[in-house]
Amino acid sequence: MNRMLVRLALVPLCFCASAALAASDPVTPAQPATALKAGVLSPAMPAPELALAATDGKPLSLARFRGKVVLLAFGFSNCGEVCPITLTTLAGARKKLGPEAGDVQVVYITVDPERDSAAQMKKFLGAFDPSFVGGVGSRAEIDAAQKSYGISSNKITYANGGYTIGHSSSIYMIDRAGRLRAVMPYGRSSDDFAHDLKILLRS
């Protein structure tokens, strides 16, 4: 009788274990195919407008690129690590898009107006992709652009008098209508960007 009781009690245990082994992955709702890999702002609001000079000799405003998806980031031409990685990633994402890349505009704004002239930024960005447009201006103009996007930067001075700049490194994704739709954290792959750009280009 006792042996029977033990066996009966083992039934639920075995049932639990076998059922769980059969489906051991977490049962969670799948992300929809239209979900961006970037952080999404909802509701999307108009992206803060820029009032700078562009490296192509024209004024830099987002209105210029209405109808295109804009990838907006901040950096500087003497950056040795973060900016080259970001720009290589963005150039790679454009290549993955093929003909659709024409509808994507990368805008890169300096956080180092003391050293970054329009010519300097143009040369720097052109090494990654000649279609990239840089934004330059006075310290006050750059500060205003940084503030409107919540960009922080701090100057780190070396013993030899030189300096570098630590800065926010996320990439802002602005849709064809000029709305700030998403923010991609630093370090994501060109595949992630291409994935999101395809969605934004078709929405």
């Binding site: 006792n2 009781l5 033990v6 009690a9 083992l10 639920p12 245990l13 639990c16 274990a17 059922a19 769980a20 082994l21 489906a23 051991s24 992955d25 977490p26 049962v27 969670t28 709702p29 992300q31 979900a35 890999k37 970037a38 952080g39 999404v40 702002l41 909802s42 509701p43 609001m45 996007y149 919540g150 960009i151 922080s152 926010s168 490194s169 996320s170 923010v183 954290p185």
Partner: protein, 138 residues
């Protein structure tokens, strides 16, 4: 019934619970981990109130609750990382890699929020740990 068998029978529910906690699939209604910045946060800060409204450290789990959803219910913009959240706006950030992320956050008295993303719980002890954390509410 021998004493040994009585002990065995008494232990069976606990064993069954452990088996369930370690092997049963984790089911959640949504992958979003929602955190709200309540209305009046900025006013409280200005008044010198340093009470943290959001936890300073948030732990997410890949494949289970790996999407951070922040909602700004305050009447002024709040900054989270490089993102300015306007009043009424939300920010939905999915994570795909286990990592530790530090964000500047104006809703915190420390000015910082840490988001720890843990690997997907596949092995029994990982599922037990996830469930234990959920039950303990941390």
């Amino acid at each position: 019934m021998s004493k040994r068998r009585r002990w065995l029978l008494a232990a069976l529910p606990a064993l069954a619970l452990l088996a369930w906690a370690g092997f049963a699939p984790i089911e959640v209604p949504s992958r979003d981990a929602l955190f709200e910045i309540p209305n009046g946060t900025y006013a409280r800060r200005r008044a010198g109130d340093l009470v943290d409204i959001l936890p300073s450290k948030i732990t997410l789990t890949l494949g289970v609750d790996d999407v951070l959803l922040l909602r700004n219910l305050d009447d002024v913009p709040q900054q989270f990382g490089p993102t300015i959240l306007m009043p009424g706006q939300s920010f939905r950030l999915p994570f795909e890699v286990a990592s530790e992320n530090r964000f500047d956050c104006t809703a915190h008295s420390s000015g910082q929020m840490i988001v720890v993303v843990e690997p997907e719980p596949v092995w029994p002890w990982q599922k037990m740990r996830w469930r234990a954390r959920r039950w303990l509410g941390s």
